[in-house]
Subunit: 345 residues, 2 copies
């Protein structure tokens, strides 16, 4: 089960018990049955499941999203369609797979032609941009609640191919590896935090942050290129530190991050330092790639970044296990290791 | 997009416009973009999409379901879990694929441990029975409606393999072919019709019908066996006549059905003739296979039925196009061609 989350709306139903999303999967959906003649696989806790078909290797991911939870209810349906596919493509990118096909399940309270028109156009535009065609799906009606229409929700299952070489997972980081990140994480949360009234953002900067929240860029091409060099990779959906922790746990290592080395957009650099830390370290919804690679391939990674149209930045180093994760400033002070988003927590 | 439906709960939100489920897919989700280097595929309007990977062939299907729409809200979670996977396995069976893996997206209003325990156990039991392991998924929170918790819903994406020979589709029926059906269709709707108060059923018969509704048997083994003989195939989710019409449209042929030849369970044969017609011809939720095959392989199909543990019955014949579909009694009277279920209609 993937543990990716992304949540522009605030969840309001407060009946969840102590099990969080990860505990829920562990407790109920770890299968003790035995199977015969199945495809070998890896990927529990990764962005994708990697299925070994013998003649090729597939990466498969699925994400379920709803208006009112993952999207603002009045979000532009075109960008909702774009992002619905983008977050799945981002999972494929994190495993280094080339997108090949996706499937859409769509649950609607009613047929809203204007919404469907925008949503489908955004979805199919994203499909065309990343050469990942819609190959099937299902439509149904959302159950109403006490006579009131339920919310629109949808699930996408995307399939990518890794025809040669290994898939990237979260499990391969080794002490001494560099820690890299693509793009400028935190920008999406600069909009979301404003919506959630955690902080305020100058209104002239909001359009940029809103665009980064609504139309994240899945790093598909970067993923396929770094696959031959990276030791571990994930996409940033929960927040940089939270997602890094997944790599550290799966790889049984620790890390140090250097705060001043973090990339930040021009717009982000105009926000107060504490807001920057909140957004960049624990914001989430970035869909940038966070990956580790041996120092020996540093030049190759730099080169891929330059040629691939997206900046990649070294932000830290993998350390042996047993050392606490630290985020250092240039004065060697430690920043608090902020927690990030978790459904049901 | 698949056009399978299955609907034990009654949908209550009445804001849908004139577009039905099929029109909705046609209007919004037919992609005019061009793609390069993608897997060739077939399957628009079939139970599964068939993806040609070069070295092998995959069948992929997805179904979205919700408590309160596809399942009664108080349905036993164990059987909900079983059926959630079964309806997807039934789609794989209709293409003749061998199940290989499935993915679950689960949207919950809150963590209900008892429900999750039953649901996951039923789901994983079905997975073990049909050798189709859970390989990934996503969990999220259902958006609330005016502060009230939304409904539990889930989407499954199942992948099967057809390693040699062609996939079955709805498009290959030819005039002169026999029409076959597996099992005893109509039993599920005998329960559903009672719940919907369309008719009443003697209470001593209800447990049998309820079991057929709650735990349909996906005809996975049968599907893989008839694949080399059948000219067209689908599973019965919307109702036998409605699903047959899909085969007729896709194959550009017509058909005649012989009512007295239809298989019926001992329990069904105790219901009034008109109720039998309603259930068997237009009930839906059967998940039996409806397929066509040349007369020349009649003996082979009979043999597969005898050895495979499920009865297969010849119920009609494919005719050239242009002739109206008819359902004849032995007195050569025509029965009304009943319509079947369609979301958003």
């Amino acid at each position: 089960m993937s543990d990716d989350c992304h949540s522009p709306g605030r969840s309001t139903s407060g009946q969840s018990q102590s099990l969080d999303e990860f505990g829920l999967i562990q407790r109920f959906f770890v299968d003790q049955n035995s199977y015969s003649n199945v495809w070998p696989f890896q990927g529990i806790g990764d962005d994708c499941a990697i299925l070994e078909l013998g003649c090729t290797r597939l990466a498969v991911t699925t994400d379920m999203m709803a208006l009112g939870t993952h999207f603002l209810e009045d979000a532009d349906p075109f960008t909702v369609g774009q992002k619905a596919l983008a977050v799945n493509l981002s999972d494929l990118a994190a495993s280094g797979a080339t997108p090949k096909a996706f499937f859409l399940s769509l649950s609607l309270p009613a047929v809203d032609v204007a919404w469907l028109d925008g949503f489908s156009k955004g979805l199919l535009k994203e499909a065309a941009t990343y050469n990942c065609p819609l190959r099937g799906g299902d439509t149904t009606k959302t159950a109403s609640v006490d006579g009131k229409p339920g919310k629109t929700c949808f699930s996408i299952c995307a399939i990518g191919e890794i025809s040669s070489g290994p898939a990237m997972t979260r499990a391969g980081a080794r002490a001494g590896d560099d820690i890299w990140v693509s793009g400028t994480p935190g920008d999406a949360f600069a909009c979301l935090g404003e919506i959630w009234k955690e902080f305020t953002v100058p209104s002239r900067l909001l359009p940029y942050f809103k665009a980064r929240m609504e139309t994240p860029t899945p790093r598909v091409h970067l993923g396929t290129q770094i696959r031959h060099y990276a030791s571990a990779c994930c996409d940033i959906s929960d927040g940089l530190v939270g997602d890094l922790k997944h790599i550290l746990e799966r790889s049984n290592v620790s890390a140090v991050l250097f705060w001043e080395d973090f990339p930040r957009s021009e717009q982000m650099s105009l926000l107060p330092e504490l807001v920057q830390q909140r957004c960049i370290l624990a914001g989430g919804d970035d869909y940038e790639l966070l990956f580790t690679a041996p120092r020996s391939v540093r030049d190759s990674i730099e080169e891929i970044g330059k040629s691939g149209g997206v900046k990649v930045t070294r932000i830290g180093e993998i350390l042996p296990s047993g050392i606490p994760l630290r985020i250092l400033t240039k004065e060697e002070q430690s920043l608090p290791v902020m927690n990030s988003f978790n459904h049901f927590a």
